[in-house]
Symmetry: C2
Subunit: 407 residues, 2 copies
């Protein structure tokens, strides 16, 4: 093999300019930026967005996408036609960044820490309707007192537990009405919210349909109990990516939340919520070595690029750290990223057969287990559009879209 066989550096890099992971003049295609880097296929993202948008419209509910997966104003702009839509966030840093971007209807869907209320108040004072979440009388008391002191009601939703996944109260919990009354006394009660977290282990349409029905029924039951006690419940919010795609009847629900669906990932494909070809996020890596005696191809993409997430390990088909495609996005049959160090990935065939010949310097794309976790390892996305480049072996980079970081 000669140097000429390798995919060489671009012209500006030959001048000693360090390539950076942003779309510079020299970063014209996926062959250009230094690896590893994250790639977003905007064509697939738009298709995924349209799919759930159509469902939500048919179900008669507002869609409130969770922006915690992409954490990007540019990706969020794909969700709507110019007018910022309602969104869900997982951190106040996201809320602040989206407020800066013109979003005025934001739900912060993590149980509130009292220490964070000054930042909540600051956002409300900017004219952002920031809704917070809680599931205890202690939190409700703190929120009500802070609202009174600030002369500004903090819209708060009561977290309802529909499947024992994480936080929340059962709809028949003794404390539910007390929390509702404390919030209502300071004009804070905004509604109820639940998340079918256990739907991430619900396989196939039938199980997911049951999870969606349970999620809806639980939220509506909590809302009706509060209303029967004379308390207002304007918002009844449900959602997870699997249940959002399975729900058939959302009577009594006002809004649907989902986040992962914009990118999808191998966990969602394993659940049957999407196909592998719907995955919009991948990571470009380079082959840096071979260990033929073990059947290994070694790349420069380790867990720092993919995350340590191994969500498919509990599924029928364990996909290791990810499936492998060529730069154009075509799956390389049976090749799996089976091991990761910080900056090394190991690719092997599923059956232990000799892997395909992929010379040093070959660039590949890895499809992740968990898009939220993999995206979080990167500062942003190099954007491609597979609709425009169906036949290009090396897709062109259209843009670099940065992520919101920190808390």
């Amino acid at each position: 093999m000669t140097a000429g066989d390798l995919s060489g550096p671009g012209p500006s890099e030959e001048n000693g300019q360090p390539p950076v992971n942003t779309a510079t003049a020299s970063a014209r295609t996926l062959a250009d930026p230094g690896t590893p880097f994250a790639v977003l296929d905007v064509h697939k993202a738009l298709r995924n967005i349209e799919r759930l948008g159509t469902r939500a419209a048919r179900l008669g509910v507002t869609l409130r996408p969770h922006v915690k997966t992409a954490k990007s104003l540019d990706v969020a702009a794909l969700l709507h036609d110019g007018t910022p839509c309602p969104v869900t966030v997982s951190t106040l840093a996201e809320a602040e960044a989206f407020a800066d971007g013109g979003y005025t209807d934001i739900t912060y869907a993590v149980g509130i820490d009292p220490h964070k209320l000054p930042r909540v108040i600051a956002l409300l004072r900017r004219g952002v309707r920031l809704r917070i979440l809680l599931d205890s009388a202690e939190q409700a008391t703190f929120v009500a007192e802070t609202s009174r002191q600030a002369g500004l009601p903090i819209p708060a939703q009561i977290e309802i537990d529909c499947d024992g996944h994480r936080g929340g109260l059962k709809p028949d919990a003794p404390g539910l009405l007390e929390i509702g009354r404390i919030l209502h006394s300071a004009d804070c009660l905004d509604g109820v919210l639940t998340h079918a977290g256990e739907s991430y282990v619900a396989y196939g349409t039938e199980e997911q349909g049951l999870a969606a029905k349970n999620e809806r029924d639980t939220a509506v039951a909590a809302a009706e109990r509060l209303r029967a006690a004379g308390l207002p419940v304007p918002t009844v919010s449900v959602g997870s990516t699997p249940t959002a795609h399975a729900a058939e009847d959302l009577t009594g629900v006002t809004e649907l939340r989902a986040g992962n669906y914009v990118f999808f990932d191998l966990v969602m494909a394993g659940l049957g919520v999407c196909r592998v070809e719907d995955l919009a996020l991948s990571v470009v890596v380079t082959v840096i070595g071979h260990r033929p005696e073990y059947g290994w191809i070694v790349t420069d993409g380790g867990w720092m690029a993919m995350s340590r997430d191994r969500g498919t390990a509990v599924q029928a088909q364990d996909q290791g750290y990810g499936l492998v495609t060529d730069l154009a996005g075509h799956l390389i049959p049976d090749l799996v990223m089976t091991a990761a160090s910080q900056e090394h990935g190991t690719l092997t065939t599923r059956d232990g057969a000799t892997p395909p010949e992929l010379p040093i310097g070959t660039r590949l794309r890895i499809l992740p287990n968990h898009a939220c976790a993999t995206a979080a390892q990167h500062q942003g996305y190099h954007v491609i559009d597979s609709a425009a480049h169906d036949t290009a072996p090396t897709p062109a980079i259209k843009a670099f879209w940065p992520r919101v970081t920190g808390w």
Copy 2:
């Protein structure tokens, strides 16, 4: 419970100033920054640094710390007295940041991707002795040709495989001498390097001592084979945190690499390389909920703050996502972070007993499985000094030290 029972926000936050994860005037103690955030106890880091520094001096080898764990010029400054020491890096972004910080002797210890050579050449032209790594004739050919074209030899080390962990050639591999000759023809041959990656599953002093002896013997055997063929081998580099602490004889070795040891973590404690009380890195989280029916305490620190790393899952004592301490760093007996969502952590007792009463708003610290992975989830470190604050329940923050990010 009244609002006054909760640890309230600091004065400037009451003015509506959003707290940020940097040590501002308002961030005086671990009670102040918004959670979650990473904390570095500089007293423990210095003790860990002194321990290995003393060992390396006694063994008569140069210590070349791997800065991939901390990725911080400020942390690296603890390693030496004002004069930048030799370092190992895992990315060219680290190499460039450390070059900017005055470091001139840097080993990039990931097999070279030919596409990255222009950045290597740029660093060499700045006067940095950047050593690269490779394990194939293809890479050696590319490096030699690039060196000739640039009129500048790129110092390259041959990666030797001592335990079947990842990359490298066995010392008796047919290709070793060919690679050495290709590199030497362009004046590039800088030596050999090996890493006992399997020492991360070597338990106790005896197993680690054997791994250290094997690591040394393998590297020296490869060096001697190259020398017998008339090739120069100035550098014989070995190291991993477990073997660096176990090696008793490094005759023939010129330098020792280790990185994790500055912070240590629960994996290293489980291997017996350090004690839990040596862990210098932790993550501050806040209690945001309780599920007494399940025995859960819910916090605002999920896998985004801790990483998905579950390195202790394969050890005798599985530590979940981490052990729990109070803000002063005292372990809360039997409390473990057993589950994680993106921004939620679940704490339970090891035996399923009722957990201690920790009100909403209580701040805790979580000790991580894997310091490299947890540190990578944060933009930097809030620095405390436990030597100066042995009796303080809420340690003072001395500084904020940023991390190098990206590739």
